[in-house]
């Protein structure tokens, strides 16, 4: 699992942290944050993709080996949320990299995130 903050307001990071914490324990289902995109199978992308983060997101996506899954976490990642139309926003995550799974919510509850991760790990 590799987390990419493409412009989030760090609200989603709080909840993803909770999901990997001891209480919701996403690791119980085999989901683990790893040190390098090369080790990762899933990209957790949060926030609307700002103009400055479009290229880094693209490169992280290409650095991850096949088969890879992109999970867009939070309303901003799905449709830019309240930041739609801001001049610094390049678009939603789907406009930059192909998205496989979306987790709505601002920020989505840890239970929703863990549920999404379970569908990815299949456990």
């Amino acid at each position: 699992m590799r987390h990419v903050d493409a412009g989030s307001c760090n609200g989603c990071e709080v909840e993803i942290g909770g999901a990997f914490g001891p209480v919701y324990d996403a690791e119980r289902y085999g989901a683990r944050l790893v040190a390098s995109p090369r080790h990762a199978d899933v990209l957790l992308v949060t926030g609307p993709v700002t103009r400055n983060m479009a290229e880094p997101l693209r490169r992280t996506y290409e650095a991850a080996p096949e088969p890879r899954v992109v999970v867009a976490v939070g309303d901003c990642a799905i449709n830019c949320g309240l930041f739609a139309g801001a001049y610094g926003v390049a678009g939603a995550v789907a406009d930059v990299v192909p998205v496989d799974l979306e987790v709505p919510g601002c920020p989505p509850e840890p239970t929703a995130i863990v549920e999404a991760l379970r569908r990815v790990t299949g456990r």
């Binding site: 590799r2 987390h3 990419v4 903050d5 493409a6 412009g7 989030s8 307001c9 760090n10 609200g11 989603c12 990071e13 709080v14 909840e15 993803i16 942290g17 909770g18 990997f20 914490g21 001891p22 209480v23 919701y24 944050l33 790893v34 040190a35 390098s36 995109p37 926030g47 609307p48 700002t50 103009r51 400055n52 983060m53 479009a54 290229e55 880094p56 997101l57 992280t60 949320g81 309240l82 930041f83 139309g85 801001a86 001049y87 610094g88 926003v89 601002c106 920020p107 509850e109």
Partner: protein, 495 residues
């Protein structure tokens, strides 16, 4: 608390500003306004307290050739505000010592200033990864380590370029503004009530801080008086937000030295606090708690719950500081001297850990907390000080919450919002002590009551330059620990 307004022309600005700085004022923010096509008005807000005094210097510039003499040599934050204004508004600070872009990355189009009313849709963006003028340090054995913007773990994007010899850091250059979305532009032309939701999403973990600063500014502009109960509820929400963020940092600091078990316990306590937030305001991050003219509480935290959380936090801190390896890793790591903190204008716990007693709850109170408010100040300025200051503040906040809960009457809707505002003045300033430090927001209302300009100054904007200073002769493995001890907001800084 209305601010005294002084109209100047550009020439008089430096002397006037120098006098204000001598009297101990602090430059809170610099905002440019495009009132009419011909002129651009720049507002310099200086604040001081107690007693809570605010002075605004208004400087009118010709829109065709907007230029203003620089204050960079008088106050370091001024230099950064001027560079930001140059990037977004096109106002050239004359004789600026460091005339480089701050907000716009190299691939942003030239000559296009987004905040100008006539800016129009953004033209074509160049290819990213243009040459950012990193200062290359040469010398025998010196090598560079680029880190970011995408990091392992849950960290916001920022690029750090280290120049290192062996393991000692010679120089760190932090390149931020990766999450710059242009929020201030979104505020223009919106209903004040409608824009409240946007302020809660400037920095997700400081929703109450930013919303409260914005509401105070609007209330200052419209002259709305907030009832005592609402002010107490707002103080309660502010402290709740401070506690749950401090607990996370206490755990994260232990995790960065490899002591994972304390981080697990910190997250357990935080989850308990987030669920408490949900019961109080219906949202885990306290969104919707602060509304224009009042506060909206659904329930009050019980004393037993607060006592249990306080006991847990004290155990966590004792365990951490009792562990010799953890304590040894914290002590003497990345020291930020009081002089450097003062020169940079640092705010919040970063300043208080280095000996500067800055606290907006004391200097610019919106609700008198009386003798309950004790501003904690430590002087060693290392990671240990920043750890202990958080522990002490979390404890004090819990005491405040206890006290405020007893004063607030029980019942679902604790404080209903006040009558609709009627515009008496056209601008207002809101200052509040978010959990990271003093947040200052200045708004201006158009005659029809809509927002014409909102300027937000997050404490991280002031504290980011302090990180490279604190890293003088620290070794590379200690950088993540230092970075987490500062825990500055990227979203709040980049806006």
């Amino acid at each position: 608390m209305p601010s005294t307004r002084v109209d100047l022309d550009p020439g008089e600005l430096p002397d006037h500003a120098a006098r204000l700085l001598d009297d101990g004022h602090r430059l809170a923010l610099v905002a440019a306004h495009h009132d009419d096509p011909g002129t651009i008005r720049v507002v310099y807000l200086f604040v001081q307290g107690p007693p809570d005094t605010r002075t605004e210097l208004h400087v009118r510039l010709d829109a065709r050739t907007p230029a203003v003499p620089t204050l960079a040599r008088l106050s370091f934050p001024a230099g950064r505000f001027e560079r930001e204004m140059r990037d977004l508004h096109g106002i050239v600070p004359l004789d600026h010592p460091l005339p480089h872009r701050l907000v716009r990355h190299p691939h942003w189009p030239r000559g296009w200033y987004p905040m100008r009313p006539d800016a129009g849709p953004p033209p074509e963006f160049g290819t990213p990864e243009g040459p950012f003028p990193f200062l290359t340090v040469e010398g025998p054995g010196v090598y560079e380590i680029p880190v970011g913007p995408v990091h392992a773990g849950l960290i916001e994007p920022g690029h750090f370029r280290f120049s290192v010899v062996g393991e000692t850091i010679l120089k760190l250059k932090a390149r931020l503004w990766y999450v710059h979305k242009g929020i201030e532009k979104l505020f223009e032309g919106r209903e004040p009530a409608q824009a409240l939701a946007l302020t809660e999403r400037i920095s997700g973990d400081t929703a109450v801080g930013h919303a409260l600063a914005y509401c105070l500014a609007v209330e200052d502009a419209t002259g709305v008086q907030v009832p005592l109960r609402a002010r107490r509820a707002r103080a309660l929400l502010l402290e709740l937000e401070r506690v749950h963020n401090h607990v996370t940092d206490l755990g994260a600091l232990c995790n960065d030295v490899g002591h994972g078990i304390l981080n697990a316990h910190a997250w357990r306590i935080r989850e308990r606090l987030l669920r408490l937030n949900h019961t109080v305001t219906g949202h885990r991050l306290l969104r919707g708690g602060v509304v224009l003219g009042g506060a909206n509480l659904r329930a009050l935290p019980e004393h037993a719950e607060l006592a249990a959380v306080r006991a847990d936090i004290r155990d966590l801190v004792d365990l951490a500081l009792g562990h010799p390896t953890v304590r040894d890793r914290f002590t003497g790591t990345a020291i930020l001297s009081a002089q450097a903190a003062h020169d940079l204008g640092c705010l919040g716990y970063v300043a208080r850990a280095s000996g500067l007693p800055t606290d907006a709850r004391h200097a610019h109170p919106f609700h008198d907390l009386g003798d309950l408010l004790t501003t904690r100040v430590l002087d060693t300025g290392d990671v240990l000080a920043r750890f202990r200051i958080r522990a002490l503040e979390a404890d004090d906040s819990l005491t405040l919450i206890d006290h405020l809960t007893t004063e607030l009457p029980t019942g679902p809707r604790v404080a209903d919002p006040a009558p609709p505002p009627h515009p008496t003045r056209r601008s207002g300033v809101g200052i509040t002590e978010g959990w990271r430090g003093t947040i200052t927001t200045r708004i201006e209302l158009a005659p029809d009551g809509l927002l014409s300009r909102v300027k937000i100054a997050d404490p991280s904007f002031f504290n980011w330059p302090a990180l490279p200073i604190a890293l003088a002769d620290t070794i590379v493995p200690d950088f993540p620990l230092t970075n987490k001890s500062f825990n500055l907001s990227y979203a709040g800084n980049d806006l």
